[in-house]
């Protein structure tokens, strides 16, 4: 009996390991395209970019403040539509410890500058010339994409697609420091 029991355990372990390998394979393949290097709850990758006024913004400098990161491009109509709402909410929340940073994906200074001054928005706009921040945050071709960073520097939420003003207000509220 002893021997039989041992054999059953060995078989169970072998089958279990093989099952785990299959499950892992199927799971990783299924989520391969959608995989987020960046996950909600994980540390937001630090970065440093220069805004249109020549000022450097480094994410880690905003520790203790919530950061609303919005990735956008001038060719993206929903990005354009949500920006005025973002600007209004930025003015409400900037004195409550929440920063807003719009990250343009690798366009020229002139295009970004003229686009922003036509819209007349005031939040800081940085340009990710080499797309390294886009890569670090795993932002694909689908814009806009918004990442909410908590005062502790953790990713609170990743939003792809257009947001309403109420959405934006809610998101900013959710990353307000205590």
């Amino acid at each position: 009996m002893e021997k039989k029991k041992k054999r059953s355990i060995v078989r169970g372990i072998i089958l279990g390991v093989l099952l785990a390998a299959i499950v892992y394979t199927v799971y990783t393949t299924a989520t391969k395209d959608k995989i987020k290097i960046l996950q909600e709850g994980s540390q937001a990758p630090d970065f440093e970019l220069v805004d249109l006024n020549g000022e450097t913004h480094r994410l880690s400098d905003y520790k203790g403040k919530g950061v609303f990161l919005n990735f956008w491009g001038t060719w993206c109509p929903p990005c354009e539509r949500e920006m005025p709402a973002m600007d209004r909410q930025y003015k409400v929340f900037k004195d409550q410890g929440v920063e807003m940073l719009a990250v343009n994906i690798a366009q020229s200074d002139f295009e970004v500058q003229s686009f922003i001054s036509n819209l007349g928005v005031d939040f800081p706009v940085v340009i990710d010339k080499t797309r390294s921040v886009q890569k670090a945050y795993n932002v694909g071709a689908a814009l806009p994409a918004t990442v909410l960073v908590t005062p502790e520097g953790k990713v609170k939420k990743i939003i792809t697609g257009e947001m309403t003003e109420a959405d934006i207000a809610g998101f900013l509220e959710s990353i307000k420091p205590e």
């Binding site: 039989k4 059953s8 072998i14 099952l19 299959i22 440093e48 020229s108 390294s132």
Partner: protein, 551 residues
């Protein structure tokens, strides 16, 4: 658990066909056969021994050869279905809708069905991976189940076997040697040793065997397969496998996909063609030019240690390289390959500021589309301001011009022209292929398009594959197993000399009976033995004769 106790008092596990010790047939089925089944030497296949818990049931399912063969056939059929139409991977469109349309347009209704059933991405489908995974489990379980008892039984072979075992072997002899009967066993030993057999003797019995390792061929082969499958699986583990591609324009520096902390600058893309006059086959097939070289000159940069994303002001140059087809840039485990190109994307546009009536030029400006400037000054009183630049003009929406992408496919500009004659400025909307629009009234001046400068784009692929050595090892082990199992065979000879001097001999080989018989012929002559009989051949002859009678 039940055991089978042989007449020789050896205790065998349930399912044993031939006694592990003396070789007596234990089942009625084996007893009725004139030649026993020697495939696994009559051992009990492990799974057959008990069949109780759920673990045992699953184990037994995978241990079955029938299940294994079924899985192989299913895998083959599924894999071949995937080759009917190209897989999505090879279809150069981005969105799901475009893919659906592609299969429908090119292959019609069947193509549409193919796409909708998910067969266009068959090899990444969950069910295909489960089938291959089950095949892997089957290989492992079946090998353990047969390999371990077989190994044990081959290791513990007895010299002396029971008459009922000997008589049921395919090739047998029984009779008096014609000469030197008292020295027969010595003669046999001598001859078998000369034939490179390993010989063991016990009392009046002799056992000779050769090429036992050939029996392990299939198991070595399976081990290779499992290593191969494991390596393919490892590709999914982060850090083992990277296969990314990127477009890089001349003059551009971009973070490299899949290669964190590294940046690549495209110095120049070169396309060279043979400048011969088309002739022969080239002419017949209507090929004008033949490509000679696709090359991208690049510089690889690395971020400083501890630098963070976006800090690109102090990149360190790693190396410069001319990437050509089959000559990738190699760095650490990564290779960057030349894969594709696009020529002549707009880079710089030259315009002339002209008086519309006299066509007199006041000067020229050049707009670098990758970095347009706010104003272009020609002299004290003459300048052109750029009010808007749209790289990919796609029409107006609510009176506002729109761009469809960030790429300069269809550039459009709004200029404000200041000249000594028009110090207030005139506004003009200029786009390709359309007359300039003058939204604020008729202008005296215009921006006349002069010429363009273009740049090329390189399509590069970034690869890293740490599984290749493992794949090689798996493949080599696999082939080794095939060779061992195919070119060597396990030949065995059992001999017993009875009290009256009669020699009882039985021989077995797992394949190549011709070779076995050749050895036996030499032995028969050397030890003066009676002629051996091949019981299987005899049976066949018998059947053929009977067949003849019925005709």
């Amino acid at each position: 658990m039940e055991k089978i106790i042989c007449t020789c008092k050896h205790v065998n596990p349930v399912g044993t066909k031939l006694c592990e010790k003396c070789g007596r047939p234990l089942t009625t089925e084996e007893q009725e056969k004139s030649v026993v089944d020697m495939r696994y030497d009559g051992i009990a296949i492990r799974s057959k021994t008990h069949n109780k818990s759920i673990v045992d049931k699953i184990w037994n399912f995978f241990s079955s050869v029938k299940v294994g063969i079924a899985l192989i056939i299913i895998t083959l059929i599924a894999a071949s279905i995937g080759t009917i139409f190209p897989q999505e991977f090879y279809v150069n469109v981005a969105t799901e809708a475009e893919k659906a349309a592609y299969y429908k347009d090119i292959y019609g209704t069947i193509g549409s069905l193919y796409y909708n059933l998910g067969l266009s991405d068959l090899y990444s489908s969950w069910w295909f991976q489960i089938i291959v995974g089950m095949l892997g489990v089957s290989i492992i379980v079946a090998s353990i189940d047969r390999g371990i008892p077989l190994h044990r039984s081959l290791k513990n072979q007895r010299v002396k076997r029971h008459a009922s075992f000997m008589k049921r072997q395919r090739v047998i002899t029984e009779g008096q040697p014609s000469e030197q009967a008292d020295k027969t066993l010595d003669l046999i030993e001598q001859q078998m040793k000369q034939l490179k057999y390993k010989v063991r003797r016990e009392d009046n019995a002799l056992f000779a065997e050769k090429g036992r390792f050939a029996r392990y061929g299939p198991y070595i082969n399976h081990l290779g397969l499992i290593i191969f499958l494991g390596a393919v699986m490892l590709r999914l583990v982060p850090g083992f496998y990277v296969d990314e591609s990127m477009w890089l324009r001349e003059g551009e520096t971009r973070a490299i996909d899949g290669m964190d902390g590294y940046f690549l600058h495209n110095d120049k893309f070169i396309l060279e063609t043979y400048d011969n006059d088309p002739q022969g086959e080239q002419l017949r097939q209507g090929v004008n030019v033949v490509a000679k070289n696709y090359q991208t000159n690049v510089t690889l940069y690395k971020q400083k240690e501890g630098a963070i994303a976006g800090q690109t002001s102090d990149l360190e140059e790693v190396k410069s390289y001319e990437i050509r087809v089959n000559h990738p840039l190699k760095h650490e485990d990564y290779s960057i390959f030349q894969m594709d190109y696009r020529l002549n994307e707009l880079k710089v546009m030259h315009f002339d500021l002209q008086n519309k009536a006299s066509e007199k030029s006041l000067g020229a400006i050049s707009i670098d589309l990758t970095d347009p400037e706010k104003e272009y000054i020609i002299d004290d009183q003459t300048k052109v301001e750029l009010a808007l630049y749209l790289p990919d003009f796609s029409g107006f929406k609510d009176g506002v011009p729109q761009t469809a992408s960030p790429f300069p496919n269809n550039p459009a500009f709004i200029f404000r022209m200041f000249t000594p004659e028009t110090p207030e400025g005139e506004t003009s909307f200029v786009s390709i292929g359309q007359p300039a629009m003058e939204p604020l009234g008729n202008n005296q001046y215009k921006m006349k398009f002069a010429s363009v400068e273009t740049r090329n784009m390189s399509g590069l692929t970034i690869r890293k594959d740490k599984t290749i050595p493992i794949l090689f090892v798996g493949g080599i082990i696999f082939m080794l197993g095939v060779v061992i199992g195919s070119y060597w065979n396990h030949r065995r000879l059992w001999v017993e000399q009875l009290e009256d001097g009669t020699i009882r001999l039985a021989a077995h080989t797992n394949k190549n009976w011709f070779g076995m018989k050749k050895d036996l012929n030499a032995l028969t002559t050397h030890a003066h033995l009676p002629q051996y009989v091949d019981q299987v051949e005899e049976e066949q002859e018998q059947k053929e004769k009977e067949g003849d009678n019925t005709l």
